[in-house]
Amino acid sequence: MTEAAMASDRVTSGAGRIAKKIDLVPLVMMLLVISILAPVAVLVYGALTSNPIGAAFSGLTLENFVEVLTNPTYQRAFFNTVYVGVAATAMAALLGIPLAWIVVRSDVPFANLLRVGIMIPFFLSPFVGALAWTLLLQRNVGPVNLVLTSLGLGQISPYSARMIIFVMGIYYAPYIFIFVSSALRNMDPALEEAGHLSGLNRRQVITQITVPLIAPAALSGVLLTFMASAGQFGVPALLGMQDRFFVLTTYIYQLINRFPAEYNVAAALGIEMLVIACAGIWLQNRITRNRSYTTMTGKGFRPRIIELGPMRWLAFAFVIAFVVVGALLPLGMLLWVSLVPYYDATFSLSAVSPIHYLKIFNQAFVWRGLKNTLFLACAGASIAVILAVISNWIILRSNTSYRKPLGYLLFLPAAVPHIVLSLALLWTYVFVPLPIYGTIWILLIAYVTSYITQAVRNVGSNYVQIDKSLEEAATMVGAARLRTWIEVTLPLLKPGMVGAWTLLFIIFVRELSASILLYSPGNEVLPVLMFNMWGEGDWGGIGALAMIQVLMMGAVIALSGLLFRVDISRAS
């Protein structure tokens, strides 16, 4: 090849590279805009008309909002949502913050084991927790009620606002735990030591230094927890609807499932939820602005362990109590009801039989649900991770002007409660002349859209750790962009990708809030099957499905740990 030919070859391949770059970015952007912004716009439109879903345009009206804001039942639901959200968040914080401090900073025995135990309720999900606690508190036969009765205390009914708060408080405590423990771990211990050298005693160091430094991270966790608990569907559905205690999510579900469905009012309620969520995010930004300090340097300090003396066993007992209430009792209960033909408050091994497992595996819809769940979890996690990698590359490495808006856009789904997003998608795909509405694909779209923020954040925290010069070094030895990606970027990103994939798989396996509005016969997923079985009172079936769910999650966690050395209990 002549010199000139080589030169021109170089020029064309260079131009080809530029062309590729220009193509990719708007494509991804368009996809994201369509899947994120369009549904919200359609939802706003739906709330502003009185037309039934799918009908042609015929003028705008504010009557839905007037109805939502003035009708006492809706006002009640709004108030209940805020009440349950605030109370559950407070309980989660009162549990999560001490748990984090004990595990990270004290000399509590078996700290690593306890850390894993604290994360179990996070994996179980609030919905499964609510199911288990319904059983544990069943009238006259629930084991916890049996114990309470034998102690001379009255029975507790699982169906109350207080139990909704209790269950959500327990199952969201790990959220706060994740935030606070990582902040505690990333805090330079010298900051506290400097306090001692400045004459502060232990208590003063905690109040003047540790607490203010941890506060921004803790507040972020608290606001996220509030948004999650205000957007929770499963728990208030299970524990509230029986006594007509409604929150916004369950009311939206009600409006859509009554006949005739009131889609327009539901959309207005959805907008109301969106406003609450946006207020939460605005508040979080306001509070934590310029205050993330440098505690998140990711330097990985070895935390200063504080010796508790004999109190360490009290701390140990506290953590164990949490794990028992959040994980061991519920798991044990679900396991037991799945193993006995009929739960009658006796615990005899001779009663054990595989009848519920045989029963559910003989039903076609269970197999279908399993298949759907596995497909959605695998495909959803894979698509979300791929999108997250591309998005992070655009945000962190490209020099397009879309970078900033893309960052905001990807943050948006975190602000939209999942049930609201699914309501919006439902509305959107009724319009769109594609065979998506009423198929499994609408669930896939809902899953990916709902959790794209999570994926982007997980992969991003790995991506920012990769020094740009590592990629540039590959370019310098002659690797083209794609080659650089394959040889350098992807291998280094593997832990982040595997971590995000595993976390999303687990989230999708237990997803109910979005699925409940979007599934159609034939497209049920495991949590929807459990929800429907709960309606029929089939506890044995629920127990068996819960065990299958736990096995699926356990298998994926173990696989990602064994094959990729990813410790999912450290991911967030």
Binding site: A190, E193, G199, Q208, P212
Partner: protein, 382 residues
């Protein structure tokens, strides 16, 4: 009478002896440096003095007051030890202004607000940071944060101030300037200080007294010039500056006549030779002399220790010239000469070392790698 006294301090982590029976005396108003490679126990010793770590056994006292005594089970908490400390990471509280960083301890102590204000301003003035009180640490450069950290450590007027590698996060130029600033400041206010560093030049500039530590044990202590000019062991000599090490042929040496013989047969006159007669000195020894004590000439000088040699390499480094010479049987030594004294390779020359500078060192830690400066290792003759 020593002001800060550390006696027989021992601190272990499992089987690892971080501090192995260390005793140190620091006089009032003097600056003492702990010098050594990472993991030598210098920071652990400092943290034991601060009370941030608790030693397994030993005693620590400051100005006659016992801070720690393992036998009497005394361990004064760090906040009551009357100490100031400057941390490697500065550890300025990011959520507080500079003013609040300095005044927190004073407020805890219950000083009147007028006095607190005066003291804060005085301290900021002292470190050249006046007028920054309302700013947050994140808005300051590394060097400025360093000054504020120093001001904070002094604000409570402690009896003694502790430095934990305070300059290691600064760039080279700033580090070199700050050494002198800290030294001047400490002398000016006349405070007792303990300074931990792995940088020998920093220790030489800042301290009145240097304690060289290795593997939890004190290797050598004394004034900077004593420790540098008269190291007693190979580790200290190699850790402080560059040193030529030549294997010793003890059998053919004549300590009584002041003669030490190298393994390649070269005989050196050494004022240090009598050390080989001392029965209390056990173990292996080596011959050592520093590159800057050497003279390289075309003709024999007629003085002592004038050795014929071949120039192996010669490099003009700007301020100095570094010449590697073969003094027989492949034993290479390095000379560092002032100015441009380049020589042609493979030519003959004569190397001279004053007998005062030819040292006999205990081969304490032949395997210890040097931090910072590259070792001038001399291959054993074949």
């Amino acid at each position: 009478m020593s002001f800060l006294k550390v006696d027989n301090l021992i601190k272990t982590y499992g089987a690892f002896h971080a501090v192995d029976n260390v005793s140190i005396d620091v006089e009032r108003g003097k600056v003492c440096s702990f010098l050594g490679p990472s993991g030598c126990g210098k920071t652990t010793t400092l943290r034991c003095i601060a009370g941030l770590e608790q030693a397994d056994s030993g005693r620590i006292s400051l100005g006659g007051r016992t801070l720690f005594d393992s036998e009497k089970r005394i361990a004064v908490p760090p906040e009551e030890r009357d100490l100031g400390m400057v941390f490697q990471s500065y550890a300025l509280w990011p959520h507080k202004t500079i003013e609040a960083n300095l005044s927190l301890g004073l407020r805890i102590k219950g000083l009147p607000s007028g006095e607190i204000r005066d003291r804060v301003n005085e301290m900021l003035e002292l470190v050249g940071m006046a007028g920054t009180g309302n700013r947050f640490p994140a808005s300051l450069s590394g060097g400025q944060q360093q000054r504020v950290a120093l001001a904070r450590a002094m604000a409570l007027r402690p009896k003694c101030i502790l430095f934990d590698e305070p300059l290691s996060n600064l760039d080279l130029l700033l580090r070199e300037r700050m050494r002198f600033e800290i030294r001047d400041l400490l002398v000016k206010i006349g405070i007792t200080a303990v300074y931990v560093t792995h940088d020998q030049t920093e220790a030489m500039v800042i301290s009145d007294h240097i304690v060289v530590l290795n593997k939890g044990k004190i290797q050598r202590e004394g004034s900077p010039s004593d420790v540098y000019n008269y190291p007693r062991d190979r580790f200290t000599a190699e850790f402080l500056g560059r040193t030529n090490i030549v294997a010793l042929d003890r059998k053919n040496s004549n300590p009584g006549a002041g003669i030490v013989t190298a393994a390649n047969g070269v005989r050196f006159s050494s004022l240090d030779a009598k050390r080989l007669e001392d029965r209390s000195e056990t173990g292996e020894f080596v011959i050592a002399f520093r590159p800057e004590t050497m003279l390289v000439t075309d003709e024999p000088t007629g003085g002592q220790n004038c050795i014929p040699a071949t120039v192996v390499s010669s490099q003009f480094l700007g301020g100095t010239t570094q010449i590697v010479l073969d003094i027989g049987q492949g034993v290479h030594v390095t000379a560092i000469l002032l100015g441009d004294q380049s020589r042609t390779e493979n030519t003959q020359a004569f190397v001279s070392v004053d007998p005062r500078h030819v040292l006999v060192l205990r081969d304490s830690s032949a395997a210890t790698p040097m931090a910072g400066t590259p070792a001038l290792r001399v291959p054993e003759p074949a």
